[in-house]
């Protein structure tokens, strides 16, 4: 096949680049224009007078819209970071127990954790909302983070479990022979070895957190906890916010996951494959 079908591959390469990047280019293009420029027919395929005004007014301007964009950016960063940290700590402990320890009910527990991955996530939406209402955790960071953690732990445990299984056991055994406790072995031997797996899992968990919309839509009731996704959706629904400004807000919400996806792509690919094959 060498040299025989490069034209087909060229079409494929061109397709992947256009398919993935044109929509993102277009939102960037719109965000750098003024309202009047955006209304031109046919559209301006490059901004005629590129301007960062939309971004400046979101990041430094007064008024309700810029304020809610800024506050919800703080919210989404706090919620995703906290959910990622808690998920990684709990999932590492769980994955290690499942991979290396024998205890009563291990298999039942393990398959239960896996089975929860097969549930469509939204089957738990109403009950979680009512539990959080009962606990008084609606519209709190704690409530949102708890719900995220409960949703992300099964996949995180599964990825880390597969990663830890692939590590050589000999080092851990020599640690135990030297009299180290389980927790010492985990902390000094297993976790350093599993670092690439932990990085993968953390990145994937963070990106999943950043994507959440329906759960926080239900669990947040005002700007004190609403993440960026919920605020952007609300602005779009009002039809009073110009598309250029909305596009700039969209670009702000894209930057973090896009940079992570492009820069740390290797970890995402290996993590996703560890999490789904078999």
């Amino acid at each position: 096949m060498r040299g025989r079908t490069p034209w087909l591959r060229r079409i494929g390469v061109l397709f992947i680049v256009l398919w993935s990047l044109v929509p993102i280019y277009w939102v960037l293009n719109i965000s750098l224009q003024t309202d009047a420029q955006m209304s031109a027919k046919p559209a301006h395929y490059v901004p005629p007078t590129p301007s960062l005004n939309n971004y400046l007014s979101l990041l430094t301007g007064g008024g309700n819209v810029p304020y809610s964009i800024r506050q919800s950016t703080i919210n989404i960063v706090i919620e995703c970071s906290a959910a990622t940290i808690v998920t990684i700590v709990l999932a590492s402990l769980a994955a290690y127990s499942f991979a290396r320890m024998k205890f009563r009910g291990r298999n039942v527990l393990f398959y239960t954790v896996l089975a929860t991955m097969a549930f469509p996530p939204y089957i738990t939406l109403i009950p979680l909302y009512r539990i959080m209402t009962f606990l008084g955790l609606v519209n709190t960071y704690t409530g949102i983070v708890l719900v995220y953690v409960s949703g992300f732990i099964p996949l995180a445990t599964w990825i880390l479990y597969n990663y830890m299984l692939s590590l050589p056991i000999a080092l851990e055994e020599s640690g135990q022979v030297d009299g180290a406790s389980r927790m010492q072995v985990l902390w000094h031997v297993v976790l350093p070895l599993a670092r690439p797996g932990i990085v993968s899992t953390a990145i994937i968990t963070f990106i999943f957190g950043w994507q959440q919309f329906l759960f926080p839509l239900v669990l947040s009731s005002d700007i004190s906890t609403e993440p960026l996704t919920v605020v952007i959706a609300a602005l779009q629904g009002k039809h009073t916010v110009p598309y250029t400004l909305l596009s700039a807000a969209g670009v702000l919400a894209i930057v973090v996951p896009a940079v992570i996806a492009l820069a740390l792509n290797r970890y995402i690919v290996s993590g996703l494959l560890k999490g789904s094959v078999k």
Partner: protein
């Protein structure tokens, strides 16, 4: 984990109860919730819409994923950068993808209208969303396909990587055309990857929410079952009926997943 299992059990039990905060107390009502679901026009039309989302989404994402995976099969200069670009849409929030594509489908200023006009394929700007049901659903589902295809591509790529290279070399020696090689060797041997890709696409499309919610609001033209669950539970405050719909969707997800598994999966040994 308790936070996933207990709510699921909750959903199953309470779908047979009347649970309405404005109409207490919670009481057993048999199949009443289910009966009301099936007598609501919006729910019935959402069943059809969701069916269309599933068919369009699963077929389109699988075909595109096979095409992209085959493109990325062999090593070439820039392949790892291309994989990073390919993965990019997977990482973005569905809400923002809705905003991004709203700029493309828009009836006054959208990219598609502009391109079609510049190419003289249409004389006047067209409305893509909200008028014609099938067109609306197609336009919305393309946005979701944009998000779910990268994972499908990775899964199929992993399956491709398992095929021993001698098989392709032997086929080439025997004078097999690239198309015949693809049909006879590649496609049958990546069935496990295709199966997992289709099941993940199925779960995503059956539960589609962000994209239709952003692109079409509450208009019934493209409303999905998850949107109905949200409206019933959190706008009508009828949790019992919401539970019933969630339960039906979970059952449908499992049944159709098993169907895909039976239909597509074949064990492969090398």
């Amino acid at each position: 984990m308790g936070l996933a299992l207990i709510p699921a059990a909750f959903t199953i039990v309470q779908s047979f109860f009347t649970v309405q905060p404005l109409n207490p107390p919670t009481r057993f009502s048999g199949f009443d919730n289910f009966r009301r679901l099936f007598s609501t026009d919006a729910v019935i039309s959402s069943i059809g819409n969701t069916g269309l989302y599933i068919v369009i989404g699963v077929v389109l994402s699988t075909v595109l994923a096979i095409f992209m995976a085959v493109t990325l099969q062999k090593n070439f200069f820039g392949r790892s950068i291309l994989i990073a670009i390919m993965v990019l849409p997977w990482a973005l929030p569905g809400v923002v993808e809705g905003i991004v594509w709203a700029n493309i489908w828009n009836s006054n200023t959208g990219l598609l209208n502009s391109l079609l006009t510049s190419a003289h394929l249409i004389d006047n700007y067209q409305v893509f969303l909200g008028q014609h049901r099938l067109l609306t659903i197609l336009a919305i589902e393309i946005v979701q396909v944009w998000q779910i295809t990268p994972l499908s591509t990775l899964l199929i790529m992993a399956s491709l990587q398992n095929i021993p290279n001698d098989l392709f070399e032997a086929a080439e020696l025997d004078g097999s055309s690239p198309w015949a090689t693809f049909r006879r060797i590649t496609l049958p041997l990546i069935r496990p990857g295709i199966t997992i890709a289709m099941v993940q696409a199925l779960i995503q499309t059956l539960n589609v929410f962000d994209q239709p919610y952003i692109l079409n609001g509450s208009a019934t033209a493209g409303s999905s079952l998850t949107m109905q669950t949200y409206f019933i539970s959190f706008q009508n405050l009828d949790f019992g009926e919401g539970y019933a719909l969630s339960l039906l969707m979970a059952v449908a997800t499992m049944v159709i997943s098993l169907g895909v598994l039976k239909l597509v999966y074949r064990p492969v040994e090398f």
